[in-house]
C-alpha cells in the first residue's frame, strides 16, 4: 500500500532544522530519523536480544484499531520491545475515526502509516529503535498516546551475509553520488562561462547539460543550509538558492539558481548582468553544496527511500511541467530523476535479490517500463535530448507517464523495509 508522506517529511525537515544537515537517513545523525515510504530509524551500535516476538530479525508489534460503542481505541500487542528493528503491523478493525498511526520519539516521528481505514488489509512498517521511551500516537482515539518502552542500548549492527552485500552497495552508491556532485560543479562552471560569454545559444545548451546532475541525486543533496544559517530563512537554504522555481518564489529572497538563469535564457531570451550574477552565484552555491555533501555515507534504506523521493519529484514537479517552466526541459529532468532512482536500486540489487528475488524482478521490470515510455520522447535534435514538455504535449501525455511512474512507485516503496531488517 502506498503512503504519501512527502508533505509531512518536508514539514519535519523544516521544523527540525537546527543542524546544517537535515537529510533523512544520513549516518552523521544519531537520532531517529524520519524517512519517506518505509520509515526506519537507527541509533548507535549494539543491543541485547529481547524476548518479545520476532520474525526475520525484527520484533513484532501488532497495532489494532477498534471502535466499541463509538469509543475509538488503539491497542499495542506489546508495550516493551528490545532495541533493534521493530515491525508494527496495523489493523483497522472498525475505527472510522483513526486513519493514522505514528511512532514518536522526543516529538519526532520515527515511523508512521496513513490511510488506515476499516476493511483494508493490515499494513506494516519497520523501524530500528534504540533503547528509550517512545510513544505510539493514534490521532482520533479516545486515548491517543500510548507509551512504548524500548529496552537495551541500541540497535544491533548486522554483520556479514546480506547486510555486508548491501553495505558494499551503499559504498558504491556513495561513490556514484560523489561523482555526480563533482560533475555538477564542473557543469555549472561551464554554464557560468557560457553566460559570461553572452552567447545565448551556447548558454542554453550549457543549461540543459548542467540540469541532470542535480536531478539525479536531489534526494541526497536537498535539505542543506549554509553553515550557521537560519533554517527558516531561504537566503541560507541551499536547495532554494540552487533549485527554487517560480512556483515557490520567496519574495524576500527573490530569484536564484538554475531557474533564474533558465528564466532569463528561455523567457526573456536575454543575457543581462543580472543573469551573470545568477550564474556566478549558482557556481558558488553548488561548490558550497559539494563541500557540505562530501563524504556522506548511507544506510541501505536510505538508498531505497532516496529512490522513492526521486520518483515523487517526477510526479510532483516534472509531469506537471512546473520544474522547467520556461525551457520545457522537464523530460530531461524526468530522465535524470529516473536514472538516479535506478542507480540507487542497482546498488541495492545484489543484496535485495537475496532477500526478495520476486520484488527485485518486479522493480527492475517497472524501471524498464518507465524507460521504454520515455524512449518515445527522445529527440537528439532537441535541447537535452528529449522533446520539449509543452503544455500541449503535457495535456495529451501527462496521464500516461504518470501511470508508469505510479506503477513503479508502489513496489519500490516496499524495498526500504526489506533492506532495513536484513541480517
Amino acid at each position: 500500500m502506498p503512503s504519501s508522506l512527502t508533505s509531512r517529511r518536508a514539514l519535519l525537515a523544516g521544523s527540525a532544522g537546527v543542524a546544517a544537515l537535515l537529510l533523512a537517513g544520513c549516518s552523521s545523525t544519531d537520532a531517529p530519523t524520519p524517512t519517506s515510504t518505509a520509515p526506519s530509524a537507527s541509533t548507535g551500535t549494539s543491543a541485547d536480544a529481547g524476548t518479545s516476538p520476532s520474525s526475520g530479525g525484527a520484533s513484532q508489534v501488532d497495532v489494532t484499531l477498534t471502535s466499541a460503542s463509538g469509543a475509538d481505541a488503539c491497542e499495542l500487542s506489546a508495550t516493551s520491545v528490545p532495541a533493534g528493528p521493530v515491525t508494527f503491523t496495523v489493523t483497522n478493525v472498525d475505527s472510522a475515526a483513526i486513519s493514522e498511526f505514528e511512532i514518536i520519539s522526543d516529538d519526532r516521528i520515527v515511523g508512521e502509516k496513513e490511510n488506515l481505514a476499516p476493511g483494508l488489509q493490515p499494513v506494516s512498517f519497520t523501524v530500528t529503535l534504540g533503547g528509550g521511551d517512545y510513544q505510539a500516537y493514534c490521532p482520533g482515539a479516545a486515548e491517543d498516546t500510548l507509551d512504548l518502552t524500548v529496552t537495551g542500548e541500541a540497535a544491533p549492527t548486522p554483520t556479514g551475509g546480506v547486510q555486508a552485500v548491501l553495505t558494499e552497495g551503499t559504498t558504491g552508491y556513495g561513490t556514484y553520488v560523489a561523482g555526480q556532485i563533482e560533475a555538477m560543479v564542473e557543469a555549472v562552471t561551464n554554464l557560468q562561462a557560457a553566460v559570461d560569454s553572452g552567447d545565448l545559444e551556447s548558454a542554453k545548451k550549457a543549461y540543459a547539460t548542467a540540469r541532470p546532475f542535480y536531478e539525479k541525486v536531489e534526494s541526497d543533496v536537498e535539505g542543506f543550509v549554509l553553515p550557521g544559517a537560519d533554517p527558516t530563512d531561504n537566503s541560507g537554504n541551499l536547495d532554494y538558492l540552487i533549485d527554487m522555481r517560480a512556483s515557490n518564489l520567496d519574495e524576500a529572497v527573490g530569484w536564484s539558481g538554475f531557474h533564474a538563469v533558465e528564466r532569463d535564457l528561455f523567457k526573456s531570451g536575454k543575457i543581462t548582468d543580472g543573469t551573470k550574477t545568477y550564474a556566478a552565484d549558482l557556481t558558488a552555491n553548488v561548490t558550497k553544496l559539494a563541500e557540505l555533501a562530501g563524504g556522506l555515507t548511507y544506510k541501505p534504506e536510505d538508498l531505497a527511500n532516496g529512490a522513492a523521493g526521486l520518483l515523487e519529484e517526477v510526479q510532483a514537479n516534472k509531469i506537471k511541467g512546473e520544474e522547467e517552466k520556461f525551457s520545457h526541459l522537464d523530460l530531461v529532468d524526468f530522465a535524470a530523476n529516473v536514472e538516479g532512482a535506478e542507480q540507487a536500486f542497482a546498488y541495492l540489487k545484489p543484496g535485495l535479490k537475496e532477500i526478495d528475488p520476486d520484488l527485485t524482478q518486479t522493480v527492475a521490470q517497472r524501471f524498464d517500463d518507465v524507460k521504454t515510455a520515455l524512449k518515445d520522447y527522445e529527440d537528439t535534435s532537441a535541447l537535452g535530448g528529449y522533446a520539449a514538455w509543452t503544455d500541449a504535449l503535457r495535456k495529451t501525455d501527462a496521464a500516461r507517464l504518470s501511470q508508469v511512474i505510479q506503477a513503479l512507485q508502489t513496489p519500490l516503496a516496499s524495498i526500504a523495509e526489506k533492506v532495513a531488517t536484513a541480517k
Binding site: P2, A71, A96, A97, A117, G119, P139, T410
Partner: protein, 500 residues
Amino acid sequence: MTRPSEGGPAPEAGLPADPADRAASASPSAGRAASASPSAGRVASASPSAGRVASASPSAGRVASASPSAGRVASASEHIETPRLSRRALLGGALGGLALGGGAGALLGRATAPETAPSSSSTDPDAVPDSTAYEFYDQVHQGGIRTPPQRHAIFASFDVTATTASDLQVLLARWSASIAQLQQGRALGAVEPTRSTGVPTDTGEAQDLGPHGLTVTVGLGPGIFDERFGLAARRPAELAELPRLPSDQLRPGLTGGDLSLQACAEDPQVAYHAIRDLARVARGKAAIRWTVMGFGRASAGPHQSTPRNLMGFKDGTRNITTDEDYDAFVWHDGADQEWMVGGTYQVVRKIQMHIENWDTDYIADQHAVFGRTKLEGAPLTGAKEHDAPDFGATGPDGEPVIPPTSHVALAAHENNGGLKILRRSYNFTDGMAEDGQLDAGLLFIAYMNDPAAFVTLQTRLGRVDQLNEYIAHVGSAVFAVPPAPRRGSYIGAALFSPVE
C-alpha cells in the same frame, strides 16, 4: 407529522417527473440515528458544539428504525414525528429569498409564518433539528436515497486518477470511514493539531454546526469497470454511459465521471464541508470533474410537503414512497452482480431553465405545459394536488383536458407501462450566464434499479414535452450505487473479493 395515505394514483407535477404514487406516509428507511451517538462524547469534549450534538437527538423525537432491514419492513405503517424548526432559518437568507420567490405560503402549500420574522419551531412541518444524525454503517441501503430529502445538496463527479485497484480500494475505504465520521457531525481528525507543525486533517468549517442530517451517497461510474482496475467482470449489465437522448444539449465539462458524491444536509455549509474534505481525502487518487450546488429540495420525500422547483410548480407530487415501489423500481436485486443487492442506480442531469422566458408565459400555457395548476398543483382534470389525473377526459372542444404533450401526461406511469423512478432533485443557480440571463435550473437526481427507466422516460419527454421550450439538459451522468457497508468494511468492498 405525516401525510394521510392516498388511496390511489395521485396527481403529479414537476420536471422530469416520474409517475409515482404518493401513497401512505412512508418510512424512515434510511435508519434514523435515534440518539446522540456514543461517540458524541468525544465530540463534546473537543468542541463547544458537543452539548448540542449530544443532547439534541434524543429529544428530537425521531423514531429510530431498530435495524435497517426491520426498519424497512416495519416502517410502512410507521409515522414519524418531526420536530419543527424554522424553515427560513435553515434555508438561510440568500437562498431563502430565491426559494421563496413565490411567497412562503405558496412554497409550502400551507400557511407559514410571516416572512418578516423567522418562524418558530412550530411552523415548518418538514424541519429537521441540526442534531439529526444518520447512521452510516450496517444500513441496508446507502443514505441520501430514501432519506427524506434534506434542504441542500452538493453533487460532485470525480475522475479517478489512481491507476491501481489497491489505490481505488484505499480511496473507497477512506471515503467510507470519513463519511461515517461526518454523518455523526465529527471532524475528520484534528482541526487544531497539538503539534505546532501539524497540518489540520479536517478543514474545520463545519465545526460547531452539528450533523444537520448529513448523508453522503457514493456512486461508481461506468469507468470504474473499464480496464484500469481489473473490475470488468463486476460490471452490472445495466451500467453504461447513457445514450444520447432527444433534446440533449450536454456540455463536455458537465458529463460523466468515475465516482460520484451526493452530500445532502439541512445546512449548506455542512454539505460543502463534506464534499471539500472528501475531495481532500481523495487527492492523488481522484479529482473533481464537475460539481453542482443544489438548494431548496425540489422533490418531496415521504411525509414531506411537496416543494416547488424554480418554475414555481410543485415537484414530486407522485414520487415513490412505498416499500413495494422501492422494491419494484429502486432497489437492485443483484441478479447479475451480487454486490449490487440493495444498491441502485443514480442518474444525474443538470437541467438549465430558461427562466426569463418562462416568466413571461401566460398562466394558462404554464398550466398546459405541466398539465397541472400552479398554486394547488392539481391535475387539470382535478381540484386537489393528489387527485388522480384523468388522461382520458376531454373538454367541450373534444380535446384532452390534460394535453398529451404536457409534462405530466408524458411522464405518468399510466402512460409508460407502469414505469416509475425515485426523484430526489434540487434547484441550483450558478449566478449569471454569459448571455446575460439567470443561470439556474434543476439538479435532477433520480434513483432506479435500471437506468433504462430514465432512458425510456426521457426519450419520450425529450421528443415532445412542451416543457422543452423552457429547459435544456446540459449535464448528465450515471452511477451504480452500492449498498451500505457493514461496520468494519467499506463501500464497494465486495467488488475486490475474488470472483468465484
